[in-house]
């Protein structure tokens, strides 16, 4: 069983909004969709794309603000190509709290 860390209340992120989780290995962007689903992906793809938390959300996707790439938040894939995949992390909502997989933070720091 993987471990999860409480990173805040669901209501700390507005619907179709996003916020950052800072780690020693770089930022993770946490999204809340219009349907209250929650996703976590890396804020940047190296210096190729990002900062994704600044993009416009639609459905389960976000549009990269600088390059207009469309990223599928469920898989981290850029729509239509398999080449560029943004790392995603397990995240869930329990009793109104957002729970991020502890492995996410370890993975980032190790990377």
């Amino acid at each position: 069983m993987s471990q999860f860390i409480d990173i805040g209340a669901l209501t700390d992120i507005p619907q179709r909004g996003a916020r950052i989780v800072r780690t020693h290995g770089g930022d993770i962007a946490v999204f809340r969709t219009a349907a209250d689903a929650v996703f976590a992906i890396d804020e940047y793809l190296g210096d190729k794309a990002g900062p994704f938390s600044n993009g416009i959300q639609h459905g389960n996707s976000v549009t990269d603000p600088i390059r207009n790439w469309i990223i599928d938040l469920t898989t981290g894939e850029t729509v239509g190509t398999e080449d560029d995949v943004i790392p995603t992390y397990d995240v869930k909502v329990e009793d109104g709290r957002i729970m991020l997989a502890a492995s996410a933070i370890r993975a980032k720091v190790a990377a």
Partner: protein, 815 residues
């Protein structure tokens, strides 16, 4: 005894006729040549190079004193013929001398037409026809700070203006029509010509109506226009056309219509009198260029020696040389049913070519900037050649015509696979073809699989061609421009439906308008949000999540994820206190770059996102508010120093700019909106390339609209002129509101004006009641939107989540 030939007028036509005559029979006549000008024949066309300083008058004399003497011509230069007694066959000179003739030749040319405006007889009002006029212009160039106005934007007027400008005179051309040389050029070529003249420092006013010439002590002082503008000048050149000079012939009882009637042998209604040149009318036509006059001269010489010949009118073309600009026009280029156009433009080189076709034949041609192929086109036009075979490549000229017709997509087909199609994203033709072969069969599919055409978008056409080429007939470019792929509706349709169905939220609109996707995309959401902001100012709740990041956090995102901050500086005016606060903030937050912008204010670049509210707070303490340098909304109002300091200023341009900016900041619009106010037509604030520009003049304020200086560079058009500051502000508000209500999202005003037409816009603003209503709607909207977004975020914590991390594990020691 040798017969006597008397000639009235030593012009280009009669001169040529004499040469032809002496070639046929040097001894047939005893010639007497009268000329009103105190000199013999010269090449009138070359007066322009004399004016511009490229040639001396001596170089353009065609017949010297020696020539006349060798040919036994009795010269009576500087003497006018005042009447003719046909019964006695004598002409009467000014001094009363009578000279008898056997044959009489009219070569009296044309008179420049002088519009009988009040003041047209003042000293310093001239035409452009002879050496005297030319010398008057040359003399003006020797005066310091001289100003001239040229009425008439036709060939002659522009030659005069170009020559004067080269001589250092400050010239304004006043043209009554919408574009220059409207008889030879179409609008597009006229526009390029205007641009070229402006580059030479000439001011060009089209659609301008001259009302009165103002004078002082009998000398010209200024030209007053119908709209009240006064153009000061030391010389006024009227070049509005010519009229055949027929007075003398009429008095003598010859048949005269527009010109002196002649038959195919150039004989008038009196068998002993012939005529040649601009003074004649042949078969209903009169003439204004030399080519046909030379044909007439040849026929006339034969007639005089009793040989048979016949003057035939030919199709003529004009290859013009308005000093330094290449233009060509021939035939009929008006738009009409059954006619088609082939147009080629190369904006980078300033080239425009247009062929007008009817029944597969060229019937008209206009060229600007590159006239190399004009003769080839003109030849085909005269011969009525069928061009069906080479239609697709015709416009590229003879060098391009092989045997078989070339495929219009040949250029793209010929590109190698590694040729770059999308520069922004580094996508080659091969990448696109590969994507298409892998199943991307629409423009959108290619965009999302390859990223081509997703940045600046200028390559979309090429991408479309690659699609067409690869898929053949299976691919059709989308016809209607829908708002985005989420909907089948166009922008205009969506806007209309939002009002008609009173749609007041984005989800409601998507539901009612049958959106194809669940919650839209990054293209339609910002557009819908704007349309609602504009339609329902007091009711709609702005949806920040539907805005691009810059508008959401009220700063410009940088490529490294930091932001830039531009405080507003009304009218470009700042104070030591503001500058101190900017300096302090820069120190305090380690802001790496402080830059003066092109919009007359200061940009703080490289601010960390989480620092933004604190930076704004400090700036706010010093009285500064957001400059909205990130918004599709009002950006800057640039001003010049105006009457407060400048010796040329006519109004308080700085003050007016500040008033306009104070009233208009904070508003959202389809695209960004820039304003400038210049204190006089020298236009130091560059108002004529702004979305709205005010040029102050003595009599008030000219409001210009539809300029831009981004990817397209556009000069503004005059919207109207008003007398007071209040009206200038009202018109600015009203125009902005009209644009806000009508334009499609992401269209700058010039694009919108191109769609709805400048005339329509003018009508809306000219209707005072409508203008007021627009202005009121704008002010009402401002009650909601004129709030400083920085203060709201810095002091009231609006959208705080944007600027703070949700959790921060860097404060916890790394495991």
């Amino acid at each position: 005894m040798t017969k006597k030939l008397v000639i009235i007028g030593a012009g280009m036509a009669s001169g040529r006729a004499l040469e032809e005559l002496f070639k046929l029979d040097p001894n047939a006549y005893d010639v007497t040549l009268f000329n009103a000008e105190p000199r013999g024949n010269y090449n009138r066309i070359m007066l322009s190079p004399v004016l511009s300083g490229d040639k001396a008058f001596e170089e353009i004399i065609t017949h010297t004193a020696e020539w006349y003497e060798e040919n036994g011509v009795t010269c009576r230069f500087g003497e006018k013929v005042v009447s003719i007694d046909r019964a006695r066959k004598v002409v009467v000179a000014e001094n009363g001398d009578e000279v008898a003739y056997d044959k009489l030749m009219f070569g009296t040319g044309s008179n420049p037409f002088i519009i009988p405006l009040p003041g047209h007889d003042l000293d310093g009002v001239i035409a452009y026809r002879d050496l005297e006029d030319t010398n008057a212009m040359i003399d003006l160039g020797n005066k310091k700070d001289a100003k001239a106005v040229v009425i008439g934007g036709g060939l002659l007027g522009l030659e005069a203006a170009a020559g004067l400008a080269l001589r250092g005179v400050d010239v304004t051309v006043v043209h009554i029509m919408g574009h220059l040389m409207e008889r030879q050029l179409d609008e597009a070529a006229g526009y390029l010509l205007k641009k070229a003249l402006i580059d030479k420092g000439i001011t060009v006013l089209c659609n301008a109506n001259s009302k009165e010439i103002l004078g002082e002590d009998g000398k010209v002082k200024a030209l007053a226009l119908g709209d009240g503008t006064e153009l000061p000048c030391d010389l006024l050149v009227m070049a509005v056309g010519i009229r055949p000079n027929v007075k003398l012939a009429q008095d003598a009882g010859l048949m005269v219509g527009k010109g002196i009637h002649v038959d195919d042998q150039m004989i008038t209604s009196d068998e002993n009198i012939v005529a040649v040149g601009e003074c004649v009318e042949h078969d209903g036509a009169i003439f204004g260029l030399v080519a046909p006059l030379y044909d007439q001269a040849k026929v006339l010489a034969k007639t005089l020696v009793g040989q048979e010949d016949k003057f035939v009118q030919k199709e003529i073309s004009t290859k013009l040389k308005v000093t330094g600009c290449d233009l060509f026009s021939a035939g009929d280029f008006a738009e009409a049913e059954g006619r088609e156009d082939i147009v080629f433009r190369d904006p980078a080189r300033g080239v425009y070519k247009r062929l007008v076709l009817e029944n597969n034949k060229i019937i008209g041609a206009v060229m600007y900037g590159d006239t190399a192929d004009s003769n080839w086109f003109f030849g085909m036009m005269k011969d009525g050649e069928d061009i069906a075979e080479m239609r697709d490549t015709l416009i590229f000229g003879p060098a391009f015509q092989g045997g078989a017709p070339v495929d219009p997509m040949a250029a793209v087909a010929a590109l190698p696979d590694d040729a770059e199609i999308c520069g922004c994203n580094g996508i080659s033709k091969g990448d696109i073809v590969a994507a298409i072969n892998a199943g991307a069969d629409t423009l959108d599919a290619v965009k999302s699989t390859t990223k081509a055409a997703t940045s600046c978008g200028t390559c979309a056409g090429l991408v479309g061609q690659v699609l067409g080429l690869t898929l053949g007939d299976d691919f059709k470019m989308p016809e209607k421009e829908t708002i985005c792929k989420c909907s089948d509706l166009s922008h205009d349709e969506v806007r209309k439906l939002i009002i008609a169905k009173e749609l007041k939220s984005i989800p409601q609109a998507m539901q009612e308008l049958d959106w194809g996707t669940s919650c839209g995309c990054h293209v339609c959401r910002p557009a819908l949000n704007y349309y609602m902001v504009c339609a329902w100012p007091a009711e709609y709740v702005d949806d920040g999540k539907s805005r691009f990041i810059n508008e959401r956090v009220h700063a410009n995102i940088q490529k490294d994820g930091t932001y830039s901050v531009v405080p507003r500086m009304l009218g470009g005016i700042t104070t030591p206190d503001e500058l101190r606060a900017i300096a302090d903030v820069s120190d305090k937050f380690n802001i790496p770059t402080v830059k003066v912008t092109g919009g007359q204010r200061i940009d703080l670049l490289g601010v960390k996102k989480e620092d933004l509210p604190a930076v704004w707070y400090d700036l706010g303490q010093a009285g500064m508010i957001s400059g909205q340098a990130y918004s599709k909304g009002l950006r800057t109002v640039k001003t010049c120093v105006g009457t407060d300091h400048c010796r040329f200023g006519t109004q308080d341009s700085t003050g007016l700019g500040i008033k306009i900016e104070s009233e208009m900041w904070g508003a959202w619009s389809p695209h960004k909106f820039k304003i400038a106010v210049s204190g006089c037509p020298r236009n130091c604030a560059e108002a004529t390339c702004k979305d709205l520009g005010v040029i102050c003049v003595d009599s008030g304020y000219q409001i210009h609209v539809g300029g831009a200086a981004g990817m397209d560079v556009r000069e503004t058009d005059l919207l109207c002129q008003v007398a007071t500051e209040e009206e200038a502000i009202e018109v600015s508000n009203a125009f902005y509101q009209l644009y806000r209500e009508g334009a499609q999202y992401l269209h700058r005003p010039y694009k919108w004006i191109a769609k709805v037409g400048l005339d329509w816009v003018k009508e809306q603003i000219a209707d005072l009641e409508n203008r007021k209503a627009l202005c009121e709607r704008f002010r009402f909207s401002q009650e909601t939107y004129q709030v400083d977004p920085w203060a709201e975020r810095a002091k009231k914590g609006v959208d705080a989540h944007e600027f703070e991390p949700l959790a921060d594990f860097t404060k916890v020691a790394a495991e």
